[in-house]
Amino acid sequence: MRTYVLRRLLQVIPLLLGISFVTFVLLQLAPGDYINTVAENPMISAERLDAMRREFGLDRPWYVQYGLYLKNIFLHFDFGESFARHQKVFVILREGLLNTLLLALAAAVVTWGLAIPLGVWAAVRQYSWLDKGLTVFGVIGLSIPEVLSGLLLLMLAARTGWLPVGGMHSLDYDQMDWVGKGIDLARHLALPALVVGLTPLAGRMRQMRGNLLDVLRLDYVTTARAKGLSENVVVFKHALRNAINPLITLFGYTLGSLVSGALIVEIIFAWPGLGRITYDALNARDQYLVLGSVLMASFVLVLGNLVADLLLAIADPRIAYD
């Protein structure tokens, strides 16, 4: 098991190298660079632009730039500096990643907090009007993309004023006590988390329902019923544990799609996460910030898959990695 984890972790390094290379090449293929976006400001002279280009090392051939980039990462764990923000890429991304993970976590609470009880409910009353209703609701939910549900909730917030229409903090956030800060953050988090969380809800609910129905057909459940246990004990104590197992694994696999799905929601709700940073950096041609954020997002995805594989091994003793 330990060697397996170690091998998987070591495999991440060439993978991230490959991703950084592909992203770098894409950035080089793109017409123009950061200096071109600065040059749109007529106040900056041509000499100043040339000086900036030299300062950022953009005048050198791309392979030299890429080599220096890798060298700094391996020797100093330095991911370069953002051109536009004059800040270390690592510092910017650390904050962005934390915000995205906060959003993803809140979204996961929404998804699983609803999917498990609803799935169980649908399974124990299979083919009832409730089960059918949830199925219809699921199909409708599957057909509303995040960009649409995000805009709909944004419209609701804009028209009613119940919740803030974007951002992460109110203007007077700094003057609040910690309770006020917590409430303020929760109010800003509510809508984006709802959007990211509701999208996969329908699928997870169907899986939970299917898993539980499969388990309820097994012999040991019949035995438990034959012993005279109440239906509640049979379902919640005996069947549910085994039915939830596969979902634990899914949790890890969905981490990547959470990060990806959060991107559009972060842009709609002006949530200062990794996706928004990446998008702004791409528009500004902020080379090293783009590289860093794509690497960071990919790292989260790969790590999520690894955790999922490990959880699978822990949850199911029949699987053994060597």
Partner: protein, 373 residues
């Protein structure tokens, strides 16, 4: 001794796979409804210039942000208008965007009116529109946008891009995926390793990050035909990896079959064996996978245009129509800007989901063999 009659094998007429599929598919009403709705949408996209009362770029300088017209049937004189009519409107308050109807006049909606000239399907030149009102009045059945352009016309024109760009991207992407997956599984060796490592790389970058990074390779402002191509290339580049991995797995098991050995023994070239004998066996899976994946391709274009790096104004796409709906003013006073393209997107995705489910059930060989499911 009376033997029990042998099972009536020959009672059923000989059935081709296609008939078996159709018999199964017909049972799924939702899939049929989805298919019918999509047929309607694609037909509408094809004839958009004729169906739309106005051109996609035609602006009305007086009636921007006009709300959807209230179509009435019986006028003040008590006369019935079979096609409906509208009252001319006048802006009374710019701040709240309140429009007032002039009840004294009725502007009837007419069929086959002459309007802007257009070219349909690149061939037919005409100025005939299915319906409209006589100028100087304008008909906004689904409202107008901030530039005074008819939202209904823009949804129709936008569907030409939004409904097709995903399909073209998917077709290219799946062809690449099929071929590379087939080659990878059939040839093995270093080619297999190379292809599989590339797919791992692509699959390790979160989808939207890759899409917007790829889009940057092309200049942001391009003529609309070139934007279309750029989006197709982006979509084709990202989608093949997942499919290639599954196809490789299927090919690994198919290549051990005897008929493949027979084809090889007959001296067929390896590419021909892949294309003629191995890949067709993955076809039913590929059809289902494609139908289920189409919505995500369509959505990719919508997201790109929504972010402002896809189809550019003044050309319409469902994505850049959503972008218009995002402004605070539109959110508060012009809900139709969100609801009209939003409904179109929702219905399209749902129709593809229903169709995909139906196809999956109908093409599942176990179900076909077992008859009833």
């Amino acid at each position: 001794m009376t033997e029990p009659a042998p099972a009536t094998v020959d009672a059923l007429p000989p059935q081709s796979p296609w008939r078996l599929f159709w018999r199964q598919f017909r049972r799924s009403h939702l899939a049929l409804a989805g298919g019918a709705l999509l047929a309607l949408f694609y037909t509408a996209a094809l004839f958009a210039p004729f169906l739309a009362p106005y051109g996609q770029e035609s602006m009305d300088r007086e009636r921007f942000f006009h709300p959807p017209h209230h179509v009435r049937w019986i006028d003040t004189a008590g006369r019935f208008h079979p096609l409906g009519f509208i009252h001319p409107t006048r802006l009374v308050d710019l701040a709240t965007l309140t429009w007032e109807e002039d009840r004294s006049q009725a502007v009837p909606i007419r069929l086959f009116v002459r309007g802007e000239r257009y070219r349909m399907l690149g061939l037919v030149r005409s100025d005939l529109h299915l319906f409209g009102v006589d100028p100087p009045y304008r008909l906004f059945l689904l409202g107008a946008d901030p530039s005074g352009r008819d939202v209904l016309s823009r949804v129709l024109y936008g569907s030409q891009v939004s409904l097709t760009v995903g399909l073209v991207g998917l077709a290219i992407s799946f062809t690449i995926g099929l071929l590379l997956g087939g080659i990878s599984g059939y040839l093995g060796g270093w080619i297999d390793t190379l292809i599989m490592r590339s797919t791992e790389l692509l699959l390790s970058i979160p989808g939207l990050y890759l899409i917007i990074a790829l889009r940057q390779v092309f200049p942001i402002t391009l003529p609309s035909q070139q934007v279309y191509l750029a989006i197709v290339v982006v979509l084709a580049f990202i989608g093949w990896a997942g499919l290639a991995r599954i196809i490789r797995g299927m090919v690994l098991s198919i290549r051990r079959q005897e008929y493949v050995a027979a084809a090889e023994a007959l001296g067929m070239s390896r590419l021909r064996v892949i294309a003629r004998h191995i890949l067709p066996n993955t076809l039913s899976f590929v059809i289902v996978a494609a139908t289920i994946t189409i919505p995500s391709y369509i959505l990719a274009e919508i997201v790109l245009s929504f972010l402002g790096v896809g189809v550019q104004e003044p050309a319409a796409s469902w994505g850049n129509m959503l972008k218009q709906a995002q402004s605070p003013a539109a959110m508060r006073t012009m809900p139709w800007l969100l609801f009209v393209p939003g409904t179109a997107i929702f219905l399209t995705v749902m129709a593809f989901n229903f169709l995909g489910d139906g196809l999956r059930d109908a093409l599942d060989p176990r179900k076909v063999m077992g008859g009833k499911s």
